[in-house]
Assembly symmetry: D2
Homo-oligomer: 353 residues x 4
């Protein structure tokens, strides 16, 4: 009953095996190895983007911050949702990597940026001349930090608004695969065909040990990205171990399979919660995360039984009467078993009875 995070589950055995397969013998360092070349080629193929620049890093924060720094100048505004990872969970990494850009937060239901708010912010940012920060990139998160999805139409519209103002578009795809299988579209459709200029393509949360790809659909940014990555200590000397993970992740559709499993687990959990008296969902459940509330009595029951998840937001008072609602985030990773979900739901139902 471990719903705390999709970075707490195990790596998939096939990915561990990939490390072992790539291990023997010598290999050129810093990305000049064969496995890296194969991964770059494979991602270009998957994204139908033969000219794209592809670079690997080990963490999602590195992927996002390096991509944004490559798109933004130090005096730019970076437009993001108020509930985005870049704004909330990276301890100021975008500000650090960009040399002090300003994150301008935008509202929008279900952690999805409201297009009107984006248009207003872009117009406003352009109206101050030298006195205000300048128009920089838009970053949107797919799947969002609330487990919801932008439709292709919605991505396209946001990208159009950004592009018409001269801003480029970054997608934080830490849960890219979860979104992709839920939408049932192609990687190209969810990215460059919809107007995305740069992508953080996540592997870590979906069964890898620690690897993300940054895909720059405008390859003219590639060398700057490489210098920024090196300078930030994110260029791995033994790069083959990043590549080996990513290669195994992409092989035989494993990445899609793992995401489907996680999404299915979340759907099962959401469907079950809908049956628990007093429980409610705070956002549509469209990927592998659930935000829900139910009485503290239920929380006490499942946590006593060993369930793990986070109260959300964290600022809720820790104590309160048993009938008072507490809201929480629950995340399912690829390894979540149906039995665990059912046990959790049974405990909750029992507490509610």
């Amino acid at each position: 009953m471990f719903f705390a995070s999709d970075n707490s589950g195990p790596a998939h055995p096939a990915i561990l095996a990939g490390l072992g397969r790539e291990n023997p013998g010598y290999a050129r360092g810093y990305g000049a190895d064969d496995a890296t070349a194969r991964v770059v080629a494979r991602l270009r193929e998957i994204f139908e983007a033969p000219g794209a620049a592809v670079h690997l890093v080990a963490t999602g924060t590195a992927a996002n911050a390096l991509a944004l720094a490559t798109l933004a100048r130090p005096w730019d505004a970076v437009f993001c949702h108020a509930d985005s990872h870049a704004e909330e969970d990276e301890c100021g990494a975008p500000e650090f990597f960009t040399g002090g850009a300003k994150l301008v937060t935008l509202p929008g239901a279900d952690a999805k940026i409201d297009p009107e708010a984006l248009a207003v912010a872009l117009a406003r940012t352009g109206a101050m001349g030298v006195h205000g920060v300048q128009r920089g990139p838009l970053t949107l998160t797919q799947a969002t930090e609330r487990g919801t999805l932008y439709s292709l139409t919605e991505i396209t519209r946001l990208a159009e608004i950004a592009h018409s103002a001269g801003s480029r578009v970054h997608m934080d795809g830490a849960r890219f695969a979860n979104a992709l299988v839920a939408l049932g579209c192609t990687p190209a459709e969810m990215t460059w065909k919809a107007g995305v200029d740069a992508l953080s393509f996540g592997g870590t949360k979906n069964g890898c040990l620690g690897v993300e790809a940054v895909i720059l659909f405008d390859p003219s940014l590639s060398w700057e990205f490489e210098l920024r990555r090196k300078r930030a200590g994110h260029l791995f000397s033994k790069h083959r171990y990043l590549a080996a993970q990513m290669e195994a992740y992409l092989a035989d559709g494993l990445w899609l399979d793992l995401a489907s499993r996680a999404n299915a687990a979340a759907a099962r959990l959401a469907a079950g919660l809908a049956q628990v008296p007093g429980a409610r969902l705070l956002h549509p459940v469209e990927a592998n995360m659930i935000f829900a509330g139910w009485p503290r009595a239920g929380h006490a029951r499942v946590q006593a039984a060993g369930a793990a998840y986070y109260p959300w937001p964290a600022t809720q008072a820790p104590e309160g009467p048993p009938e008072e609602e507490l809201t929480a985030r629950l995340v399912c990773d690829w390894s979540m078993e149906a039995g665990e979900i059912d046990r959790f739901l049974a405990l909750l139902a029992d507490a509610a009875a």
Copy 2:
């Protein structure tokens, strides 16, 4: 009829004369001159703060950004009003000087920070552990960017909330004198006695050519400030010319007299506007700035006659029907003459008739 800004009027002749008085002969550079020593002593006296560190710079943005950088670490949140100068008008200077701190904007009527919003933001900032930016300083603006004032009680309350969360308090006093004479209190009462830890004490907008003092009531920050100032190119070699301005500004209460004149001009303008049919004030007029709206027909009339001021906000559509309201900012500096105000009001009244 020049209401565009209080940085557009002339320097007061006594301040220019101060430059000439300090000019002859050799003087040690970089602040080791006698005039600087006198100014430091005088400001300590005025602020009843014999141990305070006092440093001069030439611009308000430098004063604010250097002070905030001395109070904030790169991974901190800096709490400010959404309409503050630091957020809106410094092209990201606080982010640059701090090494990438995050400005967290707070709401509040009349450009004054809402204490509840501050408390919530501080609590929320402290709840994310290593993942979120940390609690850094609060900066508040007195007089505010909308020409309003915090009462001493209000400053004290905000400072208490900040201090109880471990945050220090900076005051952007670009229009410090305007606020002081309006409140009728002492400099000490409006600053350290109310909990302010560092102050940007403005001279430029109130009759100087270009000089601001940063007063650090905690002198242990002084050496770091000096290094930051030098490193930012804000340590003047011929420092006596900053000191000479400030000395003349403070002599014989000139600074208070100039602020009183500017405030009185704004009051006259506000009182007159209240008589103009169709005009309304957007905020209380408590210092030397007026935010008001009236029909475009009136705007056309006064601008044709040479009046200068800014539509506010700048994002308003430039064209529209004559009866449609347009809102604007009008600022009175120390040199604004009653006759100019009356002529402006007469034109407006005529257009409204």
Copy 3:
């Protein structure tokens, strides 16, 4: 005959096995897992430093740059050898992480800092008041970038000079184990007992996939380090995979055994080169790296046979007469086999004959 780098060899199988052993089930993210706790405890034990702060990252550049940024303020000088990794091979990472500190390079034979030069630089740095950068940390590399070693006496002397000037001491220990087994001392003797305040303890070059520990013997720096690590995207969510590597690396003295193998291989290679007519060593061979020169004819012969290593320095003219000396760097990792070395030497001897 792959002597290009010690980051090109395979990971040791026991370290890969460690990943698999730690993989099953859920584990708290971001370093709150059990394996991390065990590694921290083990490193404290190995270093006889029960209070030290221990943090893991994935690359040596990250370890160095984060450690230096924690020791230096943005306006500081960082004292390093002109041939150090921090100066030469990190694309400005120390400057980036510190917010613009200045690397002051020092001379010294065999890539070892000359104590007199350090003393002069420290004195000079302190003589400029606010105009010059201030005294910041010393960083020294053990083993050095030329494969030589500081004796314990030499480390102690440099640290004393630094400490007496108020500077702290960082050791870049990317090849810490190689130095340790060569000197035959304890980890404590080579670090805090000799005056080292912070250590980058390398694992990557010595058989791991990618893991380094930063050990702060002054634990009051720990929280700042953690914030800097997170903000730089170097806090791994699935932190157990860093810890698992390090745990296997430290188990049963594996780390010392691997370093001994690499050093022995380099000694064998150096001894053989001494017998090759026309070849000479540029520096004493004290760890696992060799810098040597021999005629281009020999280079042509071994490279035609598949040997890999770097001309050093890289700025040598690529072409030249067969009898002209070309200098090169050769590195032995833990997996280098005696047969490969002997084959290489035989080819060289043959070419020289």
Copy 4:
């Protein structure tokens, strides 16, 4: 007998008068005033560069650091003389403004960069791929920090070496006028015609209160410069007071006249020193600075009589036997009187007798 610095003398009365002349009435802020427009036009005329971008700031460090930041990316090397102001006297300002570029110091007699050393450094910097910092701008100082001059041929040669490696050229012209009148060439000849891409054109040391112009001969850099200036707090709101200084400085050749006076004073001093037994010049005296050594007995005598100047370098032992040489820097500003020089020389001669 005040030879401590050319930033210690008075401003020229005509420049103070310029402030008064420009003071009355309202003027648009932030450089949109008429005086600024006139100054920009005048500098373009003087430099025969009708398309150049011209921007004013108040300090030399700001001019240099902003110009270099506009020419260099954060991961670049900035090539400068080891004795340059940017390296020695700006507390790391170039590193701060560039976001962490690395100053690569070059040797050369008399504080002039050795062309061979530049060529080697450029070649070396380009040989490291992503691991090393990249080739960024060259900055040279005219007149140098040791009071010497680059000939036009020397500037041209350095610029050619830089340009052929893809590096642009900045000139620190804090004492531009002193160099110009000494060389007897035109401003265009000493800058863009010799290959200079960006210039810090000094006013402060030559009779102004505090104003420098940055001239970008490639105007495509202008907007970035403006954003950097604003963001650094160096855009003056009451910009007319910068412009008024510069306008008066340029009027009727005042700037050239003041520099000639300073140079002539230095020449008189140097000629006199050559007659003092035991005294010697350390560098050719080509502008307004003298570096010389003579016995401590002479120092004691003139300092007792009130002479002011700096021992140079500052690290010399403060005490010593009377016959031991102490070296010093002496600077003459425009206001230095012949009588003062002669009095100084007489005292020295007397001490030496």
